[in-house]
């Protein structure tokens, strides 16, 4: 798989070299969140609420402070008083007051696991013991977990200052419905009344967690002069800087955030839970402080993807043309307002040409941890409902489900849900590739069924900074501010090598701290290879221009008489015509002939395009036990152009596996007391290796004309189709349509044995 393979027209793009960070990671040398140590560092512990909803009457920290070895104790009162301010980081936007309250509760705890106080001590054992000595006087309040329950008139209210956004006139009473989003066009009711076939259904699921393998961790050191450093693993150290600075009311330039390696994020590491708290502890103690979550903390207190209740009605004419779609869904936002409903509404049916649509999404507050982005946030839930319904229409019309989708698929130029036309999308190409794939026509065994589903994600571009500089020997350094989650160092190095026409191994890639490179938005929204990649290409092109100018100066010819080819300047005019100078030669001389060769590009990358995917899934259902086995799986996706195909395929496989887990077994289980019953990987069942077959991948390449190499974001699309692909396969294997995820054995058994 690692053998370089040249693609037409490219030297390096499309090859599969070993990733530059690979050796450190497989030999255990890479520094992740809890690997970093600072001299004199203290260990922190966080006290968390045992109640899902309670008023904090008082907190007595005296016993904790008196314990030998304890150097600092903080509570929500240690945050400065804050004014409401909405900050957008990556795929979500939050009020910094809520961010601070989520880090440490002030007047109320809003979910079991909500942080209430924190301790720094000379050992983790002392810190934990001290945390247990903190006495919190709670007035326990009624709690609410369910979506419909939270919207009931008599539901416990989480916030008395949250009024439903998106409703006019502005409501005069606060509500657990933090937002309503509506989009649509045409006359849905009339179109459905005239449709030859109408399917409807209610689909549900509980929240699911991203399941990144590395719990959140950081070290913070805040000096008496106001300057601070933070070392942490995150999806964006600039976001850590801005959220920490805002919640603590200090200038961003006073905080230097150094990124550590990240053990998975999937959207969940785009916010702060620990960093501002570690800062407060460090200021009080006068020493660096480490805070790290346990796996249990991660489940109880970091943001899962929302659960959902989704009502769908879709109608088609007798030829299978979709005529109307009505989607009304409610998503958990958890303890604080979220904005996932936006992308749920815009991606619900945007992959089909439907003249009449009514798309409504609600964000609902409830006593669960605040939800966070998870890979295509907001899209998989609603896609599950819509693609299940599309499958039912195909069944009712006796149509091939791929043909039905092809018949209705949007093409470049068709309007998106927002009305803006689609650019060079490759949805139809994906559907055609699925139809042509041997999997689609392979025979099925007994008790097996084949499902298909398609979907898309809008992707993103946005601000990124990158620099490219040369060593005196002509080796190339690429520096970005984008944490590498999915192999982006390799992709950046490939793109720089392609521009400069040097070998991949000559390029090394660094992710710099917030004081050493300009701003970059988070690694999220499937934006890094597109946006940061564009910045790298821009900077590499500037370096190439500089090299041509320097060579021209050394030869005494016009820059127009110098060509760049095969990593060298070639003189094409004047008395030096025919001579060449390699990059190393120019670099060595350039230092004293014009100065070091270095360029930085700081851009707001536009021109990103949505990505589309089609997944085919075969399941085998054991009717006696309800066990569902995924026996074959193929993910097909328009990737624009794969810079490093291994890591594109890896994204497609990883997304498919996470989606399969979501479909089959993953789910939050809360008990009647509002406490999470499965805060660990034993009972929060992500798939293990033996649960999934080899995920076959087909990369469809419809290049993006707005990226130098044609890149489209690839990381999020592959989690959109699997939920429905699995459910459709189970429906076809059993003849029973299931509407509630996960399709765990007990539920499938119950559906197949309604008599009990």
């Amino acid at each position: 798989m690692n053998a370089p393979q040249k693609q037409d027209g490219f030297q390096v793009v499309g090859t599969r070299p070993v990733r530059p960070d690979g050796v450190d990671k497989v030999t255990g040398k890479a520094l992740y969140g809890t690997d970093f140590k600072a001299p004199g560092m203290l260990q922190g512990a966080v006290l968390r609420s045992p109640h899902p909803h309670a008023r904090i009457r008082a907190i007595d920290t005296r016993k904790a402070e008196a314990l030998p070895g304890v150097k600092a104790v903080v509570t929500g009162r240690d945050f400065p008083s804050l004014q409401s301010l909405i900050m957008a980081v990556g795929e979500s936007a939050s009020d910094i007051v809520h961010v601070a309250r989520n880090c440490l509760a002030l007047d109320k705890v809003l979910y079991e696991g909500h942080a209430v106080a924190a301790v720094a001590a000379t050992s983790p054992e002392i810190a934990r013991e001290a945390a247990a000595l903190i006495e919190v006087d709670y007035e326990v309040l009624p709690h609410v977990l369910g979506l419909e329950e939270a919207l009931a008139d008599d539901a416990p209210l989480l916030h008395d200052d949250v009024f439903t956004k998106g409703v006019s006139p502005r409501p005069d009473k606060p509500s657990n419905a933090s937002m309503r989003v509506e989009m649509g066009k045409g006359d849905v009711d009339a179109a459905l009344a005239g449709a030859a076939v109408v399917v409807s259904g209610r689909y549900t699921m509980e929240p699911v967690h991203q399941g990144y393998i590395e719990p959140h961790a950081c070290v913070a050191s805040w000096n008496a002069d106001g300057q601070a450093q933070i070392w942490c693993s995150s999806q964006g150290h600039f976001a850590i800087r801005s959220l920490t600075a805002s919640t603590l009311g200090i200038p961003q330039a006073d905080i230097r955030v150094t990124p550590l390696e990240i053990g998975g994020g999937f959207g969940g590491k785009t916010t702060v839970y620990l960093e501002p708290v570690a800062m407060l502890l460090s200021r009080k103690a006068g020493r660096p402080v480490r805070l790290a979550m346990s796996r249990e903390d991660v489940f109880r207190a970091s943001g899962p993807a929302p659960g959902a209740v989704i009502d769908v009605r879709i109608g088609a004419d007798a030829d299978g043309m979709l005529v109307a779609a009505e989607v009304d869904f409610k998503y958990h936002s958890g303890a604080y307002p979220a904005i996932t409903a936006h992308s749920g509404v815009s991606s619900a049916v945007g992959h089909y040409r439907i003249a009449n649509t009514r798309l409504i999404g609600w964000e609902v507050l409830c006593n669960r941890p605040a939800t966070k982005a998870y890979r295509a946030p907001g899209a998989p839930q609603v896609n599950f409902a819509v693609e299940s319904a599309i499958d039912e229409i195909a069944g009712k019309l006796g149509m091939d489900p791929l043909e039905l989708r092809l018949k209705n698929a949007v093409a470049p130029g068709d309007p998106q849900t927002s009305g803006v036309p689609f650019g060079m999308i490759g949805w139809i190409e994906c559907l055609e590739a699925a139809r042509a794939h041997p999997h689609w026509s392979a025979p099925l065994g007994p008790n097996q069924g084949r499902g298909v589903a398609g979907g898309y994600w809008g992707n993103y571009g946005g601000p990124s900074t990158a620099s490219v500089s040369l060593g005196e020997d002509g080796s190339v350094l690429v520096t970005t501010g984008s944490p590498d989650i999915g192999g982006s160092r390799a992709a950046m190095a490939i793109m720089a090598a392609e521009v400069l026409e040097v070998p991949y191994e000559k390029v090394r890639c660094t992710i710099a701290d917030t004081a050493s490179i300009g701003f970059s938005m988070v690694t999220g929204g499937s934006r890094v290879t597109f946006a940061t990649g564009k910045a790298v290409v821009d900077a590499a092109n500037m370096v190439k221009d500089t090299l041509r100018e320097r060579a021209a100066r050394m030869w005494g010819v016009a820059a127009a008489d110098v060509e760049w080819r095969d990593g060298a300047a070639h003189c094409t005019g004047g008395d030096k015509a025919g001579e060449s100078m390699a990059i190393g030669t120019i670099a060595a001389r350039a230092i004293f002939a014009g100065g070091p060769v270095s360029a930085e590009a700081a851009i707001n990358a536009a021109g990103w395009l949505p990505g589309f995917g089609v997944h085919i899934c075969d399941t085998e259902v054991d009717a006696e036990t309800g066990q569902v086995r995924v026996v074959r799986y193929t993910a097909i996706q328009d990737v624009g152009r794969a810079i490093h195909p291994d890591y594109v395929e890896g994204q497609m496989q990883g997304g498919a596996v996470q989606g399969i887990g979501w479909a089959l077994n993953e789910t939050y289980i809360y008990n009647a007391q509002g406490k999470l019953d499965n805060p660990g990987f034993l009972d929060y069942r992500m798939p293990v290796a033996s649960d999934v077959p080899m995920i076959d991948t087909v990369m469809v390449e419809v290049p993006n004309p707005d990226h130098p190499f044609g890149v489209k974001g690839v990381g999020e699309v592959p989690i959109v189709p699997p939920l429905a692909a699995v459910a459709n396969a189970v429906a076809r294997a059993t003849g029973v349509r299931m509407h509630d995820l996960p399709l765990s054995p007990d539920r499938v058994y119950a559906a197949l044995h309604p008599e009990g």
């Binding site: 006696e624 034993l682 009972d683 069942r685 007990d746």
Partner: protein, 289 residues
């Protein structure tokens, strides 16, 4: 903060003295349950007594025509013992469903038994096999059936100062076969929603002459379902015998509703697994006949 002392005695007598000297001391072999419980704060023993340096506590020995499995023998080692794996494939496969490969490289059947979880995978197989265990304690040694060890979730019949020295499996003969099956939502690294062990003897005519059926995770302790065995004995494993087996199994189930399964689902699965595990054991018994 309280520190935990670590002792690694080299004789059974030393281990007994250390355990008897401190009521909260706990024996340690693989530690795959003990260490997890200590880290979670569920238990805080004053001392752990590592049994692995005691001669004879690690490894499988032939005792006459039967087997003795040292209490500190990791599950993986059971697979490597060809004679044991051939004689008691059900016991060996049950022990090798626990946790993951890494866990099984440390975990022991004795620990699985003394952890006293109703869902312990190796226990239904051991109970079906009519295995016994040798217990050492302040009053000397005694041998008791495996089924007599677990009393309730997390509670055993071991007296203070006692620990399990070895598990003994009887000799195998012509027409014997055993098997273990469990129901889990995943394919591995999970805890049984229901487990079922079967141990059969079949005569030359294919008639069942002896049958022991044991179930896990359907009651506070593993259940030996005498009626289920009786339903098979004398039969040629016809539909009527299997129907009687299913009824006996369902009647013996007293499961709970929890995050891992409902009462209804557990009862239904117990019946399904009992039939399937008997069919596997029957195949093995037939091969041995």
């Amino acid at each position: 903060m309280t520190a935990t002392a670590y002792h690694a005695p080299e004789t059974i007598e030393q281990a007994v003295a250390l355990l008897a000297g401190n009521p909260s001391a706990r024996p340690l072999s693989g530690g795959t349950d003990l260490i997890v419980q200590m880290r979670s704060g569920r238990i805080a023993p004053a001392a752990v007594i590592d049994l692995k340096r005691i001669a004879g506590l690690s490894g499988v020995r032939r005792v006459g025509d039967g087997f003795a499995i040292g209490a500190a023998t990791p599950c993986t080692a059971l697979k490597d013992h060809a004679e044991l794996a051939a004689a008691w494939p059900g016991v060996v496969e049950a022990a090798n469903l626990i946790g993951s490969v890494q866990v099984r490289n440390r975990a022991t059947m004795a620990g699985n038994l003394c952890n006293a979880s109703p869902a312990a995978d190796s226990v239904p197989a051991l109970v079906a096999a009519n295995a016994t265990c040798l217990i050492a304690g302040p009053d000397g040694q005694r041998e008791v059936p495996v089924a007599a060890i677990p009393q309730a979730p997390g509670r055993t019949s071991l007296a203070p100062g006692e620990f399990l020295v070895e598990i003994r499996l009887p000799a195998r003969g012509v027409g014997d076969g055993d098997a273990y099956l469990r129901s889990i939502p995943r394919t591995e690294m999970d805890i049984a929603v229901v487990g079922a062990g079967a141990n059969l003897t079949v005569d030359a005519e294919g008639r069942c002459t002896a049958a022991r059926i044991a179930l896990g995770a359907v009651a506070p302790t593993v259940v030996l379902v005498a009626d289920a065995g009786a339903a098979l004995v004398g039969s040629r494993f016809d539909d009527a015998a299997f129907a009687a087996l299913a009824e006996a199994v369902k009647a013996a189930c007293h499961p709970i509703d929890d995050k891992r399964g409902t009462i209804a689902y557990r009862k239904a699965m117990a019946a399904v697994l009992a039939r399937r595990v008997v069919l596997t054991a029957l195949k093995r018994a037939g091969a041995a006949a």
